[in-house]
Amino acid sequence: MATVSTDLNYLQGKKGLFSWIFSVDHKRIGLLYLYALITFFLVGVTLGILMRLELLNPGKDLLEAQTYNQIFTLHGVIMIFLFIIPSIPAVFGNFFLPIMLGTDDVSFPRLNLLSWWIYIIGAIMALSTLIFGDGPADTGWTFYAPYSVKTGTNVTMSVLAAFVLGFSSILTGLNFIVTIHRLRTPGMTFLKMPLFAWALYATSWIQLLATPIIGITLMMIVAERFFGVGLFDPSIGGDPILYQHLFWIYSHPAVYIMALPAFGIISELLPTFARRTIFGYKAIAFSSLAIAFVGYFIWGHHMFTSGMSGTGRFIFSILTFLVAIPTAIKVFNWVATLYKGSIHVHTPLLYALAFIFQFMIGGFTGLLLGALATDIHLHDTYFVVGHFHYVMFGGTGFAFFGALHYWFPKIWGKMYNAKVANTAFTLLFIGFNTLYFPMLIAGLMGMPRRYYDYLPEFHLPNMISTFGSWILAVGLILMLGNLIYAYFKSKEKPGRNPWGGITLEWQTQSPPPVQNFDRMPELPKNGPYDFEHKPTIKE
C-alpha cells in the first residue's frame, strides 16, 4: 500500500481568517458554508418562533399584520434560499464528495471558493432588506405577481438576492458534475460510487438546468417594477399565471434540490448502522435520476387553484403522481436494508429513522395536494404549510442533522456526548411533530395560511403548535450546544472509523489531511456497501 507523508490535517494548516475565507480547500469551503448556513438557519428559526408566538392566541399579540407578512416572507427566503437549497450539497457535498470519490479536491477549486463568496454576497443582499429601503418584501417567498410588482416593500433587493444566490447554486452543481465524471479514483465506476455521490449528481443537474429559469423570471419582476413592461401585471396586459408557471418551473425541481441530497445521506446512514449492504443499490441510484427528471414536469400542481385550465390541471395531476413511484422505490429499499440487518442504534441512525417517518407523512400529505379534488379544499391552508415542513424540515432538516452527527468525528476528529445527542434528538422529534402535525389538522379544518390572525375555532391546534416550537427550540439549543462543547472540550478521539463505515472517507485520518488521504484508499470488492469484504482499516 502506497504511503503519502502528511504531517498536517486541514485544520492545522494555515491559520487566521484570510486562510479560511480565501481557501480553495474543499473541506474548508464546506465548513465556511456550514458556519454561514447555521447562522442563517438560526435567524430563520428566530423568525419562525416569532410567528408562532403571534399565532399563540387569536388576535394581535406581538406583531402588526404588515410586520407579520414581512417576517414570514423573510423566514421563507432565508430558509429556502440561504439554508435548505445549499445545505447538504454545499456543506457535506463539498467536504465529502471528493473524499468519497478518492480524490484530493473538486474539479474547480477556485470556482468553488467563488461559489461561497457569491453565496455570502447574496445572503448580505437578502438580509440588507431588513435595514434598507422600505423593509423586507411582504409577498411570501414566491414573489407572486402582480402583488410583487406593486408592493412598496423591498422586493427588488430580495429578488436580486435570490438571483445572485442562484449563481452560487449553478457553479456548485457544475463543479460536482465535472468532479464526478472526471475525478473518481481508479476502479470506481459509476455503479461503484456511494449513493450520496449519486444523489449529488442528480441534484447538480437540476441546479445546473433549472436555476437559470428562476434567475430570468426574477429579473422579469424587476423589469416589470421599473419599466412596466406588461409581462405579469394584468392591468397593463400581463399574465400573472405566466409568472407562476415560470416561478414553479424552477421552484418545483428546486424541491428536489432540497430533498435528493437528503436521500443520499439516508442511503449512507442505513447500511453503516445496519451493517449490511444497501438493498437495491441500482434502484436507489437510478431513482435519484428519475426523480430529478420527472420533477421537471410537475410544477403545475402548485397552481391548481390559480385559474389554470382544466386540461392543464388534469395533465399536471397525473404527472405529479408519477414522481411518487421513484420516491417510494427509495423508501421501500431503505426499509428493506434494515430488515435482518445488525442494527446499531447510534444518534445518526435515530435521525435517519425519524427522516423516514416524517418524510412519509410529508409524502402522503403531498398525494392529497396532488389530487385535484382534495387540493381545491386544501390549497393555501395550513395543510400545505404542515406538508411542506414535514418534507423539508422533517426530511431534509433531519437528514442534515443526521449527517452532522455522522460525520462530526471525521470533520473535527472529536466525539460528542452521545447521551446528550440522543436527548436532543428526542426533544427535536417531539418538538417537530408537536409543532407541525397540528398544522395539518388546522388546514383540514380550513385555516388559511399567511394570516397573522385566525378564527377562535383554530385556537387549540395553534396553541399546541406554538408549544411544539418551544420544545423544538430547546432541542436545537441542546443539539448545537452539545456539538459546540464537543468541538472545544472533547478529549475523546474517535479514530478513523468510529461507526464501522466502508465508504472511503472512513479510511483516512480524522480530521483528514490537507490532501485527503495519508495512504491510498482501498476500494471494497463489490461496491461501496460490501460489508462482507470490507477493507481492513488500521489506525
Binding site: P186, G300, F517
Partner: protein, 105 residues
C-alpha cells in the same frame, strides 16, 4: 494524491482541428439561413400565423449548425450530444406544457 488524472484517458485525446472548408461552409450556411429569414419576414411569403414558427425553425437549424460544427459537438464525446438533447427536450416540454395549459383556458 496522484490519482487525479490517472484514469482520465479522455484528457489525452487529440483535439479535432476543423478545416477552413468546414468553417466557411458553416459561415455560408448561417448567412444563407439569415437571408431566408429576412426574405420570409420582409418580402412576405404569406405565412400568417406560421411566420413566428418559421423564424424559430430557421433559428433552430442555425443553432444546430453552430453547435454541431463550430462548437465541435460532432467531434466530441457522444455524451455531450445527449446532454444538449436533454436540455432541448426539457425546453420543449416546458414550452409545450405551458402552451397546452394556456390555449385550453
Amino acid at each position: 494524491m496522484e490519482n487525479k488524472n490517472l484514469h482520465n484517458t479522455e484528457n489525452h485525446k487529440e483535439h479535432h482541428i476543423s478545416s477552413y472548408k468546414d468553417h466557411f461552409s458553416t459561415l455560408l450556411a448561417l448567412l444563407l439561413l439569415t437571408v431566408v429569414t429576412v426574405v420570409v419576414s420582409v418580402f412576405g411569403a404569406d405565412l400568417r400565423s406560421l411566420s413566428v414558427a418559421t423564424a424559430l425553425l430557421i433559428a433552430t437549424v442555425k443553432v444546430v449548425v453552430v453547435a454541431y460544427y463550430f462548437m465541435h459537438l460532432k467531434y466530441d464525446m457522444k455524451l455531450y450530444t445527449w446532454l444538449v438533447v436533454l436540455v432541448a427536450v426539457l425546453f420543449v416540454a416546458f414550452t409545450a406544457l405551458t402552451s397546452i395549459e394556456y390555449f385550453n383556458r
